[in-house]
Subunit: 260 residues, 2 copies
C-alpha cells in the first residue's frame, strides 16, 4: 500500500498526468475509471493503481493479468486527473502507428481518413476519435502542433476509441497529404469557401477530410493541397461549426453513402 | 472606476456568474469577450464592464447604447469566468419564450425542434445551440432538470446562438411531446434500439428530435412518447455517440433533406 504523496512512483504518475514529455519518454499514458480500464488491450496494460474500497467492490471487473497496486484515498486523489475519482487508474503502453499502417488498414480503396490541422481543444479531439470509430474511419492524421492525444481530457472523451483507432502525428501535413493523393485518396477540405455542399460529393472511394483549427480553420497551405473544398451549408447567423461537429457531419455523410 | 472586489456590484456579478438562482431572480445573464458582446441585441444589454486597457483598444467595437463601467484588472479577473479574460463583460436581459412562441416560429409545418431530456454537460448544450442555428432548427425544448442555459460555459459554447435560438424549459417533457404531436409534428427518439436508421426517415415536415442524457440516454417514459425510434448506425466497438454529435448528425440530415 502506497500511503505517501512523496513516494517516487506517485511523483512519476503525476508527471505522466501533466507532461506530454514524460509520457512520450516512457512511451505510456494514463487511463482512469473502470469503463476505460476494461477496454485496455491485455498486452498494453503496464500497471494498475486502486484504492482498497474500489478493489473490494469491483475486483471481478479488473484485468487479470496485472496485479493492482494499492494506494490510500488521499494518494489516489493526488494522482487522479478527475475531481471525483472512482479509485482505479492504469498506466498503458502507447500504440505506435506509421502512415503505412494506416494506409494498409483501408481495404479496397475504402479508406476514410481524418486529417487534423492544429486542432487544439482536448474535448474536441477525444470526441473526434469516439465519433470516428463509430463512422468507420480507418485512421486519423494529426499535424505535430495539434493537442496531445495522451492528454487526460482527450483520453476520457475518446470513450475507449483511443485503444482502437490508428493515428499518427506528422511533421509536415502538406507532404502527407501529397502521399494520400498518390494513394488515390480523394482529399476534401472542410472550408467556409467550399463551392460544393458536402453532400454533393461522392465518398465511396478512398476519402480524406481536412479539418482545421477551432478558431482559425485550415492553414492556407494545407487547404491548398486538397483536391476539393467542400462546405457545410449554414443557416442563421452562425459563422462556423465546432470542429468536432463539422468532422462528425462529414464522417457520417460518408458512412451514410457507404451503407447504401 | 471600481477598484475593490468588495464593492457591492462586484459581489452581485460574482453571484450571477455562479448561481442559477441569482440569474433567474434578476432575469439576466453574463456574457464575456468582445465577439459575444457584439452580438447582444441592443434592447437586451443591461450593463457593460471593461478594463481601461480593453476600452482604449476596442472602444469602437463596443455597443453605443450603454455607457461602460470601468473596473481595475484585478477586479475584472475576479468577476470573469474565463482564466485569461479579455477585459469586457456584459449583463444581458434573459429572453423569455413560451412553447407557443416556438411553435409559431416554424412556418408551413416546417418546424425543426430539439427536445433535450436531462442534458447535463454545459459544453454539449452550448454546442447544440450553435449547431442548431446553423442547421435551421426553429426551437429547443429542455426538461427542467437539464443544465442551465445561462451557465457561463454554455453561453460561451453557443457562440452567440443564445441570442437568436428560441428555447423553453418545461415541467413535464412527456406532456410537451404530446402537444407537439397534436401540432402534427413527427417526434423521433434518437435511440440505440431504433429500428430504422436515421437516414431512412423523411424530415421534410414538422420534425422534433428527442435527445437523451449523456450517460443514460432518454428516460423510458420520454422515449415511449415518440412516434418513431431512430438509430444512428455505428461501426467498431463504439457504444454510443456524444449527445451533441448525435444531435448534430440528425439536424444536418434534416437540413440536407430540406435543401433538396
Amino acid at each position: 500500500m502506497i500511503t505517501s504523496t512523496s513516494n517516487q512512483r506517485i511523483k512519476e504518475i503525476v508527471q505522466l498526468q501533466k507532461k506530454n514529455r514524460a509520457r512520450n519518454t516512457e512511451g505510456v499514458f494514463i487511463v482512469e475509471g473502470i469503463r476505460m480500464v476494461r477496454e485496455i488491450p491485455e498486452d498494453k496494460l503496464k500497471a494498475l493503481y486502486v484504492t482498497e474500497e474500489f478493489y473490494k467492490k469491483h475486483k471481478a471487473e479488473l484485468p487479470g493479468n496485472v496485479k493492482p497496486e494499492f494506494v490510500t484515498p488521499t494518494v489516489f486523489s493526488y494522482i487522479a486527473d478527475t475531481k471525483t475519482p472512482q479509485g482505479v487508474l492504469a498506466i498503458v503502453w502507447q500504440n505506435k502507428y506509421t502512415l503505412a499502417d494506416i494506409l494498409k488498414k483501408g481495404t479496397e480503396k475504402k479508406e476514410m481518413l481524418l486529417v487534423l490541422d492544429n486542432l487544439q481543444d482536448p474535448g474536441n479531439l477525444g470526441t473526434i476519435f469516439r465519433t470516428a470509430e463509430a463512422a468507420g474511419v480507418t485512421g486519423i492524421i494529426l499535424s505535430k502542433d495539434s493537442v496531445d492525444i495522451y492528454n487526460p481530457k482527450v483520453i476520457r472523451s475518446t470513450m475507449g476509441a483511443i485503444f482502437r483507432m490508428p493515428f499518427v502525428y506528422v511533421e509536415k501535413l502538406t507532404d502527407t497529404i501529397e502521399e494520400l493523393k498518390a494513394h488515390q485518396i480523394q482529399v476534401y477540405a472542410a472550408h467556409l469557401e467550399g463551392k460544393n455542399a458536402y453532400d454533393e460529393e461522392c465518398y465511396l472511394n478512398g476519402t480524406a477530410y481536412l479539418i482545421g483549427n477551432e478558431g482559425n480553420g485550415l492553414r492556407q497551405e494545407v487547404a491548398d493541397c486538397a483536391d476539393t473544398w467542400i462546405r457545410i451549408p449554414m443557416l442563421g447567423q452562425a459563422e462556423s461549426l465546432n470542429a468536432a461537429v463539422a468532422a462528425s457531419i462529414l464522417m457520417f455523410e460518408a458512412a451514410r453513402q457507404r451503407r447504401k
